[in-house]
């Protein structure tokens, strides 16, 4: 009796959330919608990094590089080859998946902090590589590439607010984000996910159980890079501009911050990570012009102190406490 009732409530809650998400962009100005889009983009990028770091235990300080590769793939395909924006996403995934495999394979020999350093080097190198003369024709050099925002394919309005380019992109981003989260969820809750976690927790035991360590680790790297690269492509479409200075090493660090803040090895946590890296710098900037970075640090430390296992960890704790208190 109680089981179907519970499922009933879950469905209702899910439907309410979905409805809220669909109506949301029409309640805010375009600029706010643009920020929501960035949150979704960062959430996908963080999800990608979380597959590698959270689930598989490989540290990467260089995922900003994959984000950049994805962004440039989209920008070049759109500006030079006139590909429609939606078609650039699978391309960005594929390109970054392959680059991820190529980097992930030698990275097998690097454990823990050595891998972190190697990927960090990648993040440092990418902005400079993007300025390289021989590929300037494609990358636009220091100036980067200015893109046009995709126009909504049909006219529509709700609450007197038209479906603007930003609102259309919101639905596009929401669809892509939902798809990527579903993909990640399907991938990680089954055999593959268990194998990844087993490798993270005890590689020797995992090998003994017959898990092909090099294969899984390399595939995890490739998939993770693919997710983050796709997010980069989505980000390029949303911002409508790419340049080497958009993808400095700070981006890689912020993505890692997003993973930790949202909750390591938590799929929905990526959303909270995205919210954090999008909004907290703005809050710090609004509070102080003299030391926004220091303030950001203070906020980060405060959050880690209050929620040592990330936002999702905190939510889970609250949930567990509520269930313990509830009768029955």
């Amino acid at each position: 009796m109680s089981r179907p009732a519970k499922a009933h409530w879950a469905w209702l809650g899910g439907a309410l959330v979905a409805a809220a998400l669909l109506v949301l962009p029409f309640l805010f100005k375009n600029y706010r919608v643009f920020q929501f889009n960035l949150v979704l983009v960062y959430a996908v990028a963080i999800l990608g990094l979380n597959i590698l770091t959270g689930f598989n235990g490989q540290f990467s300080l260089g995922h900003g590089a994959f984000y950049a590769f994805g962004a440039y793939t989209a920008a070049i395909l759109m500006s030079l080859y006139a590909l429609p924006y939606w078609a650039t996403l699978p391309a960005a995934f594929a390109v970054c998946f392959v680059i991820g495999l190529l980097i992930g394979f030698p990275a097998l020999r690097l454990a823990g902090h050595f891998l972190a350093l190697a990927t960090f080097a990648l993040a440092l190198a990418v902005p400079q590589l993007l300025k390289y003369k021989a590929i300037e024709h494609y990358t636009g050099g220091v100036q980067g590439i200015v893109l046009s925002k995709p126009e909504p394919p049909f006219e529509f309005s709700l609450f007197g607010q038209p479906l603007s380019a930003d609102r259309w992109l919101y639905f596009f981003c929401l669809f892509v984000t939902a798809l990527m989260f579903l993909l990640a969820w399907n991938l990680l809750r089954g055999r593959v996910g268990r194998a990844l976690v087993a490798i993270r927790d005890h590689p020797i035991a995992a090998t003994a159980m017959g898990i092909n360590l090099p294969l899984y680790k390399t595939l995890a790297f490739g998939t993770s890079a693919g997710f983050t690269g796709l997010a980069g492509a989505l980000g390029a479409i949303v911002v409508a501009f790419v340049s080497p200075d958009s993808f400095t090493v700070t981006l890689s660090i912020f993505l890692l911050v997003g993973v930790v803040v949202g909750g390591v090895a938590s799929i929905p946590g990526a959303i909270f990570g995205g919210i954090f890296i999008q909004y907290v710098p703005n809050i710090a900037d609004a509070l102080s012009k003299s030391a926004p970075a220091a303030l950001y640090g203070v906020l980060l430390i405060a959050l880690m102190y209050l929620l040592p296992t990330g936002v999702m960890g905190g939510l889970r704790r609250v949930w567990a406490r509520m269930r313990a208190r509830a009768p029955g």
């Binding site: 643009f34 220091v142 980067g144 911002v239 200075d245 958009s246 710098p281 003299s290």
Partner: protein, 401 residues
């Protein structure tokens, strides 16, 4: 009876109502009203280029002074300063916040070439002034394609033209060697230099060599240039490479007349590491007063500057030239807003910005701010300076249009 009486009086009232605004002739776009003018600015207060944040703070401090003295035409200025951390993607977000959320009258002095490239199309689509940018690229003076974007400081091409003119005047038969960074910045300078030399460019320039930002050193380039036997050297390099070039030239014993682009003239960051003796007699062009130069530390202009600094720009470093820059560009903005009067529309802001002809206290004597509908380059004049082993010493006439 009643109705007949009403109609003429209504008409009268309507006529009065419609004539009232016509008399005052006040016109506003988003970002201005009877009480205030909203200005948005974007600077890097965090991130790798946060030293430039001083500019944004100095602008705010100058506008505080203007407000304390009664504002502009009776209106207070509300200055919204945002941080982009020198990340162009963030600049886009902040520009959109200023235009769509805060509804500013104009976006002022965003810093960096990439940052401004990222928002130029957006600002022009929105038809909101993108005014007095902190970047030396020449592309900001393109009123035909981007009528809502206007630069501020001398652009790279006009600076290079000054060196060309000086060479033509002093050494008409020079053999010129050029070293340039292989990107838009370097090519911008090179184009201005070749344009400045005109027909003679082909004959006079004996060698052009480039380097990449990623190169570890430029020693080999210097040796190549030396081997050409050039007696004039135009050095288009960023600080690290400028220091390397000066040092290597001294080691190799190459002593041409040396023109160094304004980008790399910091005594502390370039000339000291390169060796002050090695840097002697290098030439460059300047347009703004150096707050550490004793010759400018006197007179009413300096006193006003220091008085403002002590009262409003508390906590900043008086030796930091970025404050002079912020102070001066803010004065340019105030002039534009004053001239706009009660017609505070986006279009009129650009119109007034494109009809400036003035001097400002902390620009070098003889350097002016002059624009026209087809001239979106506010500051173009510069004066040459020679390094005497300790500081830059200005000499000769003021060059430029």
């Amino acid at each position: 009876m009643k109705i007949e009486f009403l109609i003429p009086s209504l008409a009268c009232a309507l006529a009065l109502a419609s004539s009232a605004p016509a008399l005052a002739q006040k016109k506003y776009d988003a970002g201005a009203n009877d009480k205030e003018i909203v200005i948005g600015a974007i600077h890097p207060y965090s991130g790798p280029a946060s030293a430039y944040g001083a500019i944004g703070k100095a602008i705010g401090a100058y506008l505080d002074k203007v407000n304390a003295e009664g504002g502009i035409n009776g209106r207070k200025i509300r200055y919204i300063a945002l941080d982009d951390g020198y990340n162009p993607a963030k600049t886009v977000e902040q520009a959109r916040k200023l235009v769509e959320q805060d509804e500013v009258l104009l976006v002022f002095n965003p810093l960096g070439t990439a940052a401004n490239t990222a928002i130029q199309k957006y600002m022009n689509d929105k038809k909101v002034p993108h005014l007095f940018l902190s970047s030396g690229a020449t592309k900001w003076g393109d009123p035909k394609n981007f009528p809502w974007t206007m630069g501020w400081q001398p652009n790279y091409q006009s600076e290079a033209k000054i060196y060309a003119q000086h060479i033509l005047e002093t050494k008409p038969n020079a053999k010129i060697a050029v070293l340039y960074q292989n990107d838009d910045y370097g090519k911008d300078y090179l184009k201005g230099f070749e344009d400045g030399l005109g027909d003679k460019a082909k004959a006079l320039i004996v060698s052009k060599v480039s380097y990449e930002v990623t190169d570890p050193t430029i020693d080999s380039q210097i040796l190549t240039l030396k081997a050409t036997g050039a007696d004039v050297f135009f050095n288009i390099t960023t600080p690290k490479f400028a220091a390397q070039a000066i040092k290597k030239m001294a080691e190799a014993g190459w002593k041409p007349t040396h023109y160094l682009n304004n980008v790399s003239t910091s005594v502390g960051a370039v000339l000291t590491p390169a060796g002050l003796d090695n840097s002697k007699d290098i030439l460059t062009a300047q347009y703004i007063k150096d707050p550490t130069d004793p010759q400018f530390q006197k007179g009413k202009e300096w006193d006003d500057y220091v008085a403002w600094f002590k009262k409003y720009n508390v906590g900043a470093n008086l030796n930091d030239g970025f404050n002079v820059y912020g102070y001066t560009v803010a004065q340019g903005l105030v002039q534009v807003l004053k001239a706009a009067g009660d017609n505070l529309t986006h279009a009129n802001v650009m119109k007034q910005a494109a009809s400036l002809d003035m001097t400002l206290p902390m620009l070098l004597p003889g350097v002016n701010v002059k624009t026209a509908a087809d001239d979106y380059f506010p500051i173009e004049r510069q004066q040459l300076a020679r390094f005497d082993g300790k500081t830059w010493v200005l000499f000769g006439k003021v060059y430029g249009p």
